[in-house]
Each structure stands twice: as C-alpha cells, then as structure tokens.
Amino acid sequence: MKEQNRKYWNPLLEKSAPEQLLAMELKNFRKLIGYAKEHSVFYQKQLKDVFPEDITSLETVRRLPLIDKEDLRKAQEGKSPFPYGEMLGVELKEVTDFRQTSGTTGKPVYVPESYESWQWRVEVWCHILWMAGFRETDRVFVPFGYNVYVAFWEGHYAAEKLGCEVVPGGALDTRDRISKILELKATALLSTPTYGLHLAEEAFKMGIDPRTIGIKRMLCAGEPLPLATRERLEQSWGAEVYDHIGGTEPCAWAAMCEERNGLHIIEPFFLVEILDMETLTTEVGPGELGVAVVTPLGRRSFPLIRFNTKDVVRQGGNGCPCGRTSKKIAEVAGRADDLRKIRGVLFTPVAVEEIVRREFLEIVEYEIVVQREGLMDEITLRVEPQEEMGVEPSKVFNRRISERLKTKTNLRFRIESVLPGSLPRYTLKSKRFKDLREDKADG
C-alpha cells in the first residue's frame, strides 16, 4: 500500500471518484465566491447579486460572468491599491511575491501572491513535477534567470519541496549552461521547448551529443508543445519530455502523467470548463475543441472566478491507464488569440510547428509572417536551414514544405530561406508568428 501511495503525490485526490472531485470543487467554488465578495472590490461589484448558496451544480456555475485578461487590466489600471487594483484579495501588506504576465497580448497584468497563495501554487506544481517523475534523487537544472515570470519560480520551489536539488542556471550563456549541466551531472531540466532545442543545437556545435549528457526528464513551460516538438526534444536529449498548460493569472492547471498522452486537469485545485468557442456557454464533449475557462479554487490573494484563458484545447474525457481519475485534455491546440482568418481560412501557428518539427529536421529555426499585399493576405514561412545545407536550400526542398503546409493548413505559403543564425533564438516566450496586417481578422 505504501509503495502504491508513492506513485502519486496525493493519492487521496488523484484517485478520488470524479463525482467526489466535483463535490470538492463546488464546495470550494462557493467558499471562493463568499471570500471574493468580502475581500475584492472587483467582485463586490461584479457578483453583487450572486451568493455562495446559489452554486449547486456546474449549470449554476455557468450562469456567472466570465472574466478575461482585459478585465484584469481594467481592474488594475489607475485603481488602488497600486499596483494590483481592485482584484487584490488580501491586504497589500500580505503580498509577498510580485509576478507579471509576459505582455504578449498587451499591457502586462500584475499578479500578487500572499505567502499562503504562493504555497498553494507550489503545491499544484508538486503534483505536476511528481507526475512527470521528478523525485528526491534528481538534480534539476533551470537554464534561466526567472525574472518576474512565474513558471520557473514555481518549478524551482516545487522541485525543492519535493526534495530535488535545484540548480538555478541564470546569468550564464548557453554554452556555460551546457558545461554546468555536464559538470554537475544534472538529471532533469525545466525549460521552454524552444530553449530546450537551442541547448541541444549548441551542445552539438560544442561536439557534445546531448543524449550523452544524462538528462532523463524535462518539463516544458512557457510555450505550446506540439507533439512533433516534444518528440524532437525527446530524440535530441534521449529524455522523457513532459508538458503542462497554465498561465500567470490562473497558475498551471493541467499536466502530463507518465503516459504522456494528454494532460490531467489538476483537480480539485481548479474547476475547469471547456466551452464551445462560439458562444462560450456550453461544455464541449470528449474529442471536441473548446476554450478553457479556469477557476483556481484555493488562491485568495488574487481570486479569479471563471477566467477565460483563451487556450483552445481538445476535451479528453476521464480515465487514464495511470490510475488518476481527473478529467483530461487530449491536446492543446493553441491560443484563441493566435487564431487568425487568412484568406478566409482559420489558421493557428501550432499547425506549422507540427509540420516543421516533425518533417523538416533540416530547419533549425523559423518565423511566420502575415502581410496584406494589395487586397490579398500573404503568408510567408521564413526558414533557417542547418549550416550544412548552405544559404539556399533547393527549390525542391522549398516546394516540399509548401506542399505539406498547404495540405495541413489549406493555405499557400511563400517559403523564404534566410542565413544560418539570422533568426532570433528565444529563451522565454518565442514570437515566431508575426501578423503585420492592420486588420487582423481574428477567428
């Protein structure tokens, strides 16, 4: 029994019946409403006519309004107390950690954490790391300066709580980081997918096969991780690579288990609804795409109720060979923010990443640019080939990419080769998709 218990971080939760998980979520949802109305100016106004006892089922949850990043910005800008404004759920003196969003889609949102709320986030990450096989015997290298961005802080503190030995690898260049990983015989990495690939690329340039370095597992953060990219990382490092999904505002809310087939929602820490993309009113069925609406249920410093993450995910139902009973997400399809209509076709950049990473290993880096030329939208894939291919890959090569992209996305791409080393290398969030049209025709 004891050995079986070690398989899970918290078997009490992870093996709970789905109806028990839902009961815990609704109980804490009610508590959160009561708390938020009492402590957050934003919710005093927004939920004026809503009472905890109104919440008896998921249907009653769905009657409450959604909020999104723009609501958070409005509740902060120019509102007191500085800098968190009306969302703050504790006294300002209780805030112990400042975090902020990356600002990819506009002005960053400032996120306050009290010590209690921070420990709650760390606990969520303990679930994530444990599911990914991180244990006391791991030496975890984190090749970043974490700055004000939350994911690697969470990973750091959770790995420490698990009993791992954590090596913060900020303030080093990429080659020094590789040397440090080798010197210390690190066994695990926390990284963005992009930087994981870049580290492998640089190791090869140093004459080191990354598969010989000894990294056994990697948890990715900060960017989408399509299957093809994950497989490429696994091949490059000879390691198991795990994904999770989350954000600065709601925390990480779903992650991969050892099956590496879809992501488990971290229940009952979060109540997650996957709603149809058009109306955002009904839950989609297993196998269908929807937008994730997330309520973190134990974080009082920044209460969020029905936060529209704008993450587009495929519902995966319940049940998993790993024995966990939480709901699953079959796939992270992309960001609703990144969905664009190009020549009338709905497009997501993740589709390009799937093709490039799976089928064109000769491409080291790429960038997608959308522009309007006259009345027409033009989409260009700028590719940076491996140095051995020379500056100008063959026309056959370019035609092959273009044809595969056409099949996958139904769009005709212009392919443009650039000099090796000329496209930017990203450490934190990559920005490979550039829509330069004035009217972006969101999907």
Binding site: N10, L13, A17, Q20, A23, Q119, W120, E123, G298
Partner: protein
C-alpha cells in the same frame, strides 16, 4: 474510474483531518503566546500556509467522503 473510498481508508482520512485541525488550533495558540514577536508571528504564518494546503488536499477529501452522497 475511481470508486468512493473504502471504509478503512476513510478512518485514516478522518484521523488525518483531526490532526490537521489540531495543528491549526495549536498554531493559533502559539501565535497568541508569542504576542507580537516576529519570530513566532512569521513562522506561524508560514506554517498556516501549509495547513491551508493540507486542508485542500486532505481535509476536504475527508469531509466530502463523509458527506451523505458518498458514504
């Protein structure tokens, strides 16, 4: 699919929940005894954060398992 918890397991859950409640009570008392000494106040506060996490991960399970629908 998971099944509602077996009786034996629920006994353990109840035991853990009781101890978590006692720890919380003890910490409140310790804070009272410490007056405003930072060493007590701040360390109690940190420990209370872990109590919050344990209530979420253990006490809630015990409460829900005990409730009518799942007994």
């Amino acid at each position: 699919m998971g099944k509602p918890r077996e009786k034996e397991e629920r006994v353990n859950l109840d035991g853990m929940k009781t101890i978590i409640d006692q720890l919380e009570q003890l910490l409140i008392e310790l804070k009272g005894l410490g007056g405003e000494m930072p060493v007590i106040e701040k360390n109690v506060k940190a420990m209370m954060s872990f109590i919050h996490v344990l209530k979420f991960g253990v006490s809630d399970v015990a409460e829900v398992a005990k409730s009518e629908n799942f007994s």
